[in-house]
Symmetry: C2
Subunit: 218 residues, 2 copies
Protein backbone atom coordinates (compact mmCIF):
# COMPACT_ATOMS: atom_id res chain seq x y z
CA UNK A 1 0.00 0.00 0.00
CA UNK A 2 2.76 2.38 0.95
CA UNK A 3 4.55 1.62 -2.30
CA UNK A 4 1.44 2.41 -4.33
CA UNK A 5 1.05 5.77 -2.65
CA UNK A 6 4.70 6.56 -3.32
CA UNK A 7 4.38 5.55 -6.95
CA UNK A 8 1.37 7.83 -7.33
CA UNK A 9 3.29 10.67 -5.73
CA UNK A 10 6.32 10.21 -7.91
CA UNK A 11 4.37 9.87 -11.16
CA UNK A 12 2.48 13.08 -10.26
CA UNK A 13 5.79 14.83 -9.51
CA UNK A 14 7.20 13.63 -12.83
CA UNK A 15 4.19 15.11 -14.64
CA UNK A 16 4.57 18.44 -12.86
CA UNK A 17 8.27 18.46 -13.74
CA UNK A 18 7.33 18.13 -17.43
CA UNK A 19 5.45 21.44 -17.18
CA UNK A 20 8.68 23.11 -16.08
CA UNK A 21 10.68 21.31 -18.76
CA UNK A 22 8.38 22.79 -21.42
CA UNK A 23 8.68 26.29 -19.92
CA UNK A 24 12.48 26.00 -19.80
CA UNK A 25 12.54 24.91 -23.45
CA UNK A 26 10.17 27.68 -24.54
CA UNK A 27 12.22 30.34 -22.76
CA UNK A 28 15.61 28.90 -23.72
CA UNK A 29 16.64 28.28 -20.12
CA UNK A 30 19.16 25.55 -19.41
CA UNK A 31 18.07 24.43 -15.92
CA UNK A 32 20.56 22.92 -13.50
CA UNK A 33 19.32 21.34 -10.26
CA UNK A 34 22.13 21.87 -7.74
CA UNK A 35 21.97 19.36 -4.91
CA UNK A 36 24.08 19.32 -1.74
CA UNK A 37 23.98 19.20 2.02
CA UNK A 38 24.03 22.43 4.07
CA UNK A 39 27.20 24.44 3.63
CA UNK A 40 28.79 22.49 0.76
CA UNK A 41 29.38 25.76 -1.11
CA UNK A 42 26.46 25.87 -3.56
CA UNK A 43 26.21 29.66 -3.64
CA UNK A 44 29.98 30.00 -3.96
CA UNK A 45 29.89 27.68 -6.96
CA UNK A 46 27.15 29.78 -8.58
CA UNK A 47 29.23 32.94 -8.06
CA UNK A 48 32.22 31.20 -9.66
CA UNK A 49 30.17 30.01 -12.64
CA UNK A 50 28.69 33.48 -13.24
CA UNK A 51 32.15 35.04 -13.18
CA UNK A 52 33.62 32.55 -15.66
CA UNK A 53 31.05 31.68 -18.34
CA UNK A 54 30.08 33.88 -21.29
CA UNK A 55 26.30 33.33 -21.07
CA UNK A 56 23.93 34.86 -18.49
CA UNK A 57 23.34 33.01 -15.23
CA UNK A 58 20.14 33.28 -13.16
CA UNK A 59 19.27 31.56 -9.91
CA UNK A 60 16.25 30.17 -8.07
CA UNK A 61 17.21 29.79 -4.40
CA UNK A 62 15.52 27.20 -2.18
CA UNK A 63 15.84 27.56 1.59
CA UNK A 64 13.70 26.62 4.59
CA UNK A 65 14.02 30.27 5.72
CA UNK A 66 15.86 33.54 4.98
CA UNK A 67 16.88 35.10 1.68
CA UNK A 68 20.55 35.61 2.49
CA UNK A 69 21.87 34.03 -0.71
CA UNK A 70 19.29 35.69 -2.95
CA UNK A 71 20.20 39.13 -1.57
CA UNK A 72 23.89 38.36 -2.01
CA UNK A 73 23.52 37.19 -5.62
CA UNK A 74 21.28 40.10 -6.61
CA UNK A 75 23.80 42.51 -5.07
CA UNK A 76 26.42 40.97 -7.39
CA UNK A 77 24.20 41.50 -10.43
CA UNK A 78 23.20 37.82 -10.70
CA UNK A 79 19.38 37.72 -11.00
CA UNK A 80 18.07 35.53 -8.17
CA UNK A 81 14.60 34.61 -6.91
CA UNK A 82 13.89 33.17 -3.47
CA UNK A 83 11.64 30.23 -2.66
CA UNK A 84 11.18 29.70 1.08
CA UNK A 85 9.87 26.25 1.86
CA UNK A 86 8.80 27.30 5.40
CA UNK A 87 10.60 24.34 6.92
CA UNK A 88 10.13 22.02 3.93
CA UNK A 89 13.17 19.88 3.15
CA UNK A 90 13.21 20.01 -0.67
CA UNK A 91 11.94 21.95 -3.65
CA UNK A 92 9.01 20.54 -5.62
CA UNK A 93 8.25 21.08 -9.29
CA UNK A 94 5.14 23.14 -8.56
CA UNK A 95 7.13 25.62 -6.42
CA UNK A 96 9.41 26.19 -9.40
CA UNK A 97 6.43 26.59 -11.77
CA UNK A 98 5.03 29.32 -9.52
CA UNK A 99 8.43 31.03 -9.32
CA UNK A 100 8.68 30.99 -13.13
CA UNK A 101 5.42 32.95 -13.37
CA UNK A 102 7.19 35.89 -11.72
CA UNK A 103 10.83 35.28 -12.48
CA UNK A 104 11.87 35.71 -16.10
CA UNK A 105 15.60 35.35 -16.70
CA UNK A 106 17.05 36.42 -20.05
CA UNK A 107 16.71 33.84 -22.87
CA UNK A 108 19.70 31.53 -23.18
CA UNK A 109 20.45 31.84 -19.49
CA UNK A 110 21.79 29.03 -17.38
CA UNK A 111 19.15 28.78 -14.64
CA UNK A 112 20.70 27.28 -11.53
CA UNK A 113 18.09 25.98 -9.11
CA UNK A 114 19.89 25.90 -5.78
CA UNK A 115 17.93 23.26 -3.94
CA UNK A 116 17.44 23.13 -0.17
CA UNK A 117 20.55 21.93 1.69
CA UNK A 118 19.69 18.24 1.98
CA UNK A 119 21.27 15.08 0.56
CA UNK A 120 18.15 12.95 0.88
CA UNK A 121 14.68 14.20 -0.11
CA UNK A 122 15.89 16.52 -2.84
CA UNK A 123 17.05 13.41 -4.75
CA UNK A 124 13.56 12.14 -5.52
CA UNK A 125 11.76 15.31 -6.62
CA UNK A 126 12.43 16.12 -10.28
CA UNK A 127 12.11 19.79 -11.17
CA UNK A 128 12.25 19.46 -14.97
CA UNK A 129 15.98 20.19 -15.00
CA UNK A 130 18.35 19.40 -17.86
CA UNK A 131 21.33 18.84 -15.57
CA UNK A 132 21.48 17.42 -12.08
CA UNK A 133 24.67 18.18 -10.19
CA UNK A 134 25.55 16.85 -6.73
CA UNK A 135 28.08 18.80 -4.71
CA UNK A 136 30.06 17.80 -1.62
CA UNK A 137 32.84 19.46 0.35
CA UNK A 138 35.83 17.32 1.36
CA UNK A 139 35.16 18.44 4.95
CA UNK A 140 31.89 16.44 4.84
CA UNK A 141 33.72 13.12 4.62
CA UNK A 142 34.50 10.42 2.07
CA UNK A 143 31.64 8.12 3.14
CA UNK A 144 28.75 10.15 1.75
CA UNK A 145 28.15 8.09 -1.44
CA UNK A 146 27.68 5.02 0.77
CA UNK A 147 25.28 6.76 3.14
CA UNK A 148 23.33 8.80 0.58
CA UNK A 149 23.36 6.61 -2.54
CA UNK A 150 20.13 7.87 -4.15
CA UNK A 151 21.40 11.37 -4.75
CA UNK A 152 24.70 10.26 -6.29
CA UNK A 153 23.06 7.59 -8.45
CA UNK A 154 21.14 9.98 -10.68
CA UNK A 155 23.74 12.75 -10.96
CA UNK A 156 24.99 14.10 -14.32
CA UNK A 157 28.08 15.42 -12.54
CA UNK A 158 29.61 15.36 -9.07
CA UNK A 159 31.45 18.44 -7.78
CA UNK A 160 33.93 17.77 -4.99
CA UNK A 161 34.48 21.20 -3.46
CA UNK A 162 36.81 22.64 -0.79
CA UNK A 163 39.90 20.93 -2.17
CA UNK A 164 41.82 23.76 -0.45
CA UNK A 165 40.91 22.02 2.84
CA UNK A 166 42.02 18.56 1.69
CA UNK A 167 45.32 18.73 3.55
CA UNK A 168 43.50 19.59 6.81
CA UNK A 169 40.80 16.90 6.85
CA UNK A 170 40.77 13.09 6.74
CA UNK A 171 39.27 12.58 3.31
CA UNK A 172 40.22 9.33 1.59
CA UNK A 173 39.81 10.06 -2.10
CA UNK A 174 40.04 6.39 -3.06
CA UNK A 175 37.19 5.53 -0.75
CA UNK A 176 35.10 8.42 -2.11
CA UNK A 177 35.67 7.39 -5.75
CA UNK A 178 34.98 3.77 -4.87
CA UNK A 179 31.62 4.87 -3.44
CA UNK A 180 30.76 7.00 -6.46
CA UNK A 181 31.80 4.33 -8.98
CA UNK A 182 29.62 1.69 -7.30
CA UNK A 183 26.65 3.93 -8.13
CA UNK A 184 27.71 5.25 -11.51
CA UNK A 185 30.54 4.02 -13.71
CA UNK A 186 30.74 7.11 -15.85
CA UNK A 187 29.58 10.21 -13.94
CA UNK A 188 32.27 12.92 -14.21
CA UNK A 189 33.73 14.12 -10.91
CA UNK A 190 35.19 17.64 -10.72
CA UNK A 191 37.63 18.28 -7.90
CA UNK A 192 37.75 22.01 -7.29
CA UNK A 193 37.87 24.81 -4.77
CA UNK A 194 35.55 27.79 -5.07
CA UNK A 195 37.94 29.55 -2.69
CA UNK A 196 41.30 28.96 -4.42
CA UNK A 197 39.86 28.64 -7.93
CA UNK A 198 41.61 25.33 -8.64
CA UNK A 199 39.63 23.00 -10.89
CA UNK A 200 37.08 25.64 -11.92
CA UNK A 201 38.18 25.85 -15.59
CA UNK A 202 37.58 22.11 -16.16
CA UNK A 203 34.17 22.30 -14.48
CA UNK A 204 32.97 25.38 -16.36
CA UNK A 205 34.23 23.89 -19.67
CA UNK A 206 32.06 20.82 -19.08
CA UNK A 207 29.10 22.97 -18.06
CA UNK A 208 29.49 25.26 -21.08
CA UNK A 209 29.54 22.28 -23.41
CA UNK A 210 26.47 20.70 -21.87
CA UNK A 211 24.57 24.01 -21.98
CA UNK A 212 25.55 24.55 -25.63
CA UNK A 213 24.27 21.06 -26.48
CA UNK A 214 20.95 21.95 -24.89
CA UNK A 215 20.63 25.27 -26.67
CA UNK A 216 21.53 23.83 -30.06
CA UNK A 217 19.21 20.87 -29.48
CA UNK A 218 22.07 18.39 -29.79
CA UNK B 1 -6.78 22.02 6.21
CA UNK B 2 -3.08 21.47 5.73
CA UNK B 3 -2.43 22.82 9.21
CA UNK B 4 -4.92 20.38 10.74
CA UNK B 5 -3.23 17.42 9.09
CA UNK B 6 0.15 18.58 10.34
CA UNK B 7 -1.17 19.07 13.84
CA UNK B 8 -2.59 15.55 13.81
CA UNK B 9 0.74 14.20 12.62
CA UNK B 10 2.72 16.04 15.23
CA UNK B 11 0.40 15.18 18.11
CA UNK B 12 0.60 11.50 17.05
CA UNK B 13 4.41 11.73 16.92
CA UNK B 14 4.46 13.35 20.36
CA UNK B 15 2.38 10.45 21.74
CA UNK B 16 4.73 7.89 20.18
CA UNK B 17 7.71 9.73 21.63
CA UNK B 18 6.16 9.37 25.10
CA UNK B 19 6.35 5.59 24.72
CA UNK B 20 10.10 5.87 24.21
CA UNK B 21 10.43 8.32 27.08
CA UNK B 22 8.85 5.75 29.42
CA UNK B 23 11.14 2.97 28.14
CA UNK B 24 14.21 5.20 28.61
CA UNK B 25 13.12 6.01 32.16
CA UNK B 26 12.39 2.36 33.00
CA UNK B 27 15.78 1.23 31.67
CA UNK B 28 17.72 4.16 33.09
CA UNK B 29 18.85 5.39 29.68
CA UNK B 30 19.65 9.06 29.25
CA UNK B 31 18.71 9.61 25.59
CA UNK B 32 20.40 12.29 23.54
CA UNK B 33 19.04 13.15 20.08
CA UNK B 34 22.08 14.25 18.07
CA UNK B 35 21.09 16.45 15.12
CA UNK B 36 23.34 17.71 12.34
CA UNK B 37 23.79 17.91 8.60
CA UNK B 38 25.84 15.29 6.73
CA UNK B 39 29.47 15.19 7.76
CA UNK B 40 29.33 17.55 10.75
CA UNK B 41 31.23 15.00 12.83
CA UNK B 42 28.46 13.28 14.80
CA UNK B 43 30.20 9.91 15.00
CA UNK B 44 33.50 11.55 15.92
CA UNK B 45 31.74 13.35 18.78
CA UNK B 46 30.28 10.08 20.02
CA UNK B 47 33.74 8.48 20.00
CA UNK B 48 35.10 11.44 21.97
CA UNK B 49 32.28 11.27 24.53
CA UNK B 50 32.75 7.51 25.03
CA UNK B 51 36.49 7.98 25.60
CA UNK B 52 36.04 10.75 28.17
CA UNK B 53 33.00 10.03 30.37
CA UNK B 54 32.85 7.52 33.22
CA UNK B 55 29.44 6.05 32.40
CA UNK B 56 28.63 3.64 29.53
CA UNK B 57 27.70 5.04 26.13
CA UNK B 58 25.48 3.24 23.60
CA UNK B 59 24.35 4.41 20.18
CA UNK B 60 21.39 4.11 17.83
CA UNK B 61 22.56 5.09 14.34
CA UNK B 62 20.16 6.52 11.77
CA UNK B 63 21.22 6.55 8.11
CA UNK B 64 19.40 6.37 4.77
CA UNK B 65 21.74 3.49 3.88
CA UNK B 66 24.88 1.62 5.05
CA UNK B 67 26.03 0.67 8.53
CA UNK B 68 29.48 2.18 8.32
CA UNK B 69 29.28 4.07 11.61
CA UNK B 70 27.63 1.20 13.49
CA UNK B 71 30.38 -1.20 12.43
CA UNK B 72 33.03 1.35 13.41
CA UNK B 73 31.53 2.00 16.87
CA UNK B 74 31.01 -1.69 17.62
CA UNK B 75 34.61 -2.37 16.61
CA UNK B 76 35.65 0.19 19.23
CA UNK B 77 33.57 -1.54 21.90
CA UNK B 78 30.79 1.07 21.85
CA UNK B 79 27.49 -0.84 21.53
CA UNK B 80 25.68 0.47 18.46
CA UNK B 81 22.50 -0.48 16.62
CA UNK B 82 21.69 0.53 13.05
CA UNK B 83 18.39 1.91 11.76
CA UNK B 84 18.33 2.30 7.96
CA UNK B 85 15.55 4.60 6.84
CA UNK B 86 15.76 3.31 3.23
CA UNK B 87 15.98 6.83 1.90
CA UNK B 88 13.90 8.43 4.66
CA UNK B 89 15.24 11.79 5.80
CA UNK B 90 14.73 11.53 9.59
CA UNK B 91 14.21 9.09 12.41
CA UNK B 92 10.70 8.69 13.84
CA UNK B 93 9.76 7.67 17.36
CA UNK B 94 8.34 4.33 16.24
CA UNK B 95 11.62 3.33 14.56
CA UNK B 96 13.37 3.90 17.87
CA UNK B 97 10.70 1.92 19.76
CA UNK B 98 11.29 -1.04 17.43
CA UNK B 99 15.06 -0.73 17.86
CA UNK B 100 14.65 -0.75 21.65
CA UNK B 101 12.89 -4.13 21.46
CA UNK B 102 16.19 -5.63 20.26
CA UNK B 103 18.81 -3.26 21.54
CA UNK B 104 19.33 -3.26 25.28
CA UNK B 105 22.17 -1.04 26.46
CA UNK B 106 23.44 -1.36 30.04
CA UNK B 107 21.37 0.54 32.65
CA UNK B 108 22.63 4.07 33.33
CA UNK B 109 23.99 4.37 29.80
CA UNK B 110 23.98 7.54 27.83
CA UNK B 111 22.08 6.51 24.70
CA UNK B 112 23.08 8.73 21.81
CA UNK B 113 20.60 8.60 18.95
CA UNK B 114 22.60 9.75 15.96
CA UNK B 115 19.86 11.07 13.71
CA UNK B 116 19.98 11.08 9.91
CA UNK B 117 22.26 13.81 8.52
CA UNK B 118 19.67 16.52 7.92
CA UNK B 119 19.15 19.97 9.44
CA UNK B 120 15.46 20.18 8.54
CA UNK B 121 13.05 17.28 9.02
CA UNK B 122 14.83 15.81 12.02
CA UNK B 123 13.90 18.98 13.94
CA UNK B 124 10.18 18.22 14.08
CA UNK B 125 10.14 14.53 15.04
CA UNK B 126 10.54 14.04 18.79
CA UNK B 127 12.04 10.69 19.78
CA UNK B 128 11.39 10.87 23.52
CA UNK B 129 14.88 12.19 24.18
CA UNK B 130 16.03 13.95 27.34
CA UNK B 131 18.60 16.09 25.53
CA UNK B 132 18.54 17.53 22.05
CA UNK B 133 21.91 18.62 20.71
CA UNK B 134 22.51 20.37 17.39
CA UNK B 135 25.97 20.09 15.87
CA UNK B 136 27.59 22.11 13.10
CA UNK B 137 31.10 22.25 11.65
CA UNK B 138 32.66 25.65 11.04
CA UNK B 139 33.24 24.50 7.45
CA UNK B 140 29.44 24.51 6.95
CA UNK B 141 29.23 28.29 7.31
CA UNK B 142 28.08 30.89 9.82
CA UNK B 143 24.64 31.42 8.23
CA UNK B 144 23.06 28.11 9.22
CA UNK B 145 20.98 29.41 12.18
CA UNK B 146 19.34 31.89 9.79
CA UNK B 147 18.59 29.27 7.14
CA UNK B 148 17.62 26.40 9.46
CA UNK B 149 16.02 28.15 12.45
CA UNK B 150 13.70 25.34 13.59
CA UNK B 151 16.49 22.97 14.53
CA UNK B 152 18.44 25.56 16.52
CA UNK B 153 15.34 26.90 18.26
CA UNK B 154 14.62 23.78 20.29
CA UNK B 155 18.19 22.73 21.09
CA UNK B 156 19.42 22.08 24.65
CA UNK B 157 22.97 22.65 23.45
CA UNK B 158 24.79 23.63 20.27
CA UNK B 159 28.12 22.01 19.42
CA UNK B 160 30.31 24.00 17.03
CA UNK B 161 32.78 21.41 15.75
CA UNK B 162 35.91 21.52 13.56
CA UNK B 163 37.41 24.53 15.33
CA UNK B 164 40.76 23.18 14.06
CA UNK B 165 39.60 24.34 10.58
CA UNK B 166 38.55 27.81 11.75
CA UNK B 167 41.71 29.47 10.43
CA UNK B 168 41.15 27.94 6.97
CA UNK B 169 37.49 28.84 6.39
CA UNK B 170 35.46 32.08 6.33
CA UNK B 171 33.40 31.58 9.45
CA UNK B 172 32.24 34.78 11.15
CA UNK B 173 31.69 33.75 14.76
CA UNK B 174 29.83 36.97 15.59
CA UNK B 175 27.34 36.33 12.81
CA UNK B 176 26.87 32.73 13.96
CA UNK B 177 26.25 33.73 17.59
CA UNK B 178 23.93 36.50 16.44
CA UNK B 179 21.90 33.89 14.55
CA UNK B 180 21.81 31.49 17.50
CA UNK B 181 20.88 34.20 20.04
CA UNK B 182 17.95 35.40 17.91
CA UNK B 183 16.50 31.90 18.36
CA UNK B 184 17.55 31.18 21.92
CA UNK B 185 18.94 33.60 24.48
CA UNK B 186 20.37 30.98 26.76
CA UNK B 187 21.31 27.80 24.85
CA UNK B 188 24.93 26.86 25.66
CA UNK B 189 27.31 26.74 22.68
CA UNK B 190 30.39 24.50 22.88
CA UNK B 191 33.21 25.36 20.50
CA UNK B 192 35.34 22.27 20.08
CA UNK B 193 37.30 20.05 17.75
CA UNK B 194 36.86 16.29 17.81
CA UNK B 195 40.16 16.13 15.92
CA UNK B 196 42.40 18.30 18.13
CA UNK B 197 40.46 17.69 21.35
CA UNK B 198 40.10 21.38 22.17
CA UNK B 199 36.86 22.24 23.98
CA UNK B 200 35.93 18.63 24.69
CA UNK B 201 36.39 18.84 28.51
CA UNK B 202 33.86 21.70 28.82
CA UNK B 203 31.37 19.85 26.63
CA UNK B 204 31.66 16.50 28.44
CA UNK B 205 31.43 18.28 31.82
CA UNK B 206 28.10 19.81 30.78
CA UNK B 207 26.88 16.48 29.40
CA UNK B 208 27.93 14.60 32.53
CA UNK B 209 26.05 17.06 34.72
CA UNK B 210 22.89 16.89 32.64
CA UNK B 211 22.99 13.07 32.58
CA UNK B 212 23.53 12.96 36.36
CA UNK B 213 20.52 15.23 36.85
CA UNK B 214 18.43 12.82 34.79
CA UNK B 215 19.61 9.74 36.64
CA UNK B 216 19.08 11.30 40.08
CA UNK B 217 15.68 12.64 39.00
CA UNK B 218 16.75 16.23 39.67
Amino acid sequence: MKIEVEQDLFSKEAELAEINRAIFRERGLCALNLLAGPGAGKTSLIKAIAAMVDFPVAVIEGDPASQIDTDLLNSLGIPAFQINTEGGCHLEAEMVTRALAEFRPAPHSLLVIENVGNLICTAVYPLGEVLRVVMLGVSEGDDKPFKYPDIFQEADAVVLNKMDLAAHVDFDKNRFYDGVRRLSESVPVFELSCKSGEGLPEWTAWLTQRAAEYWTGA
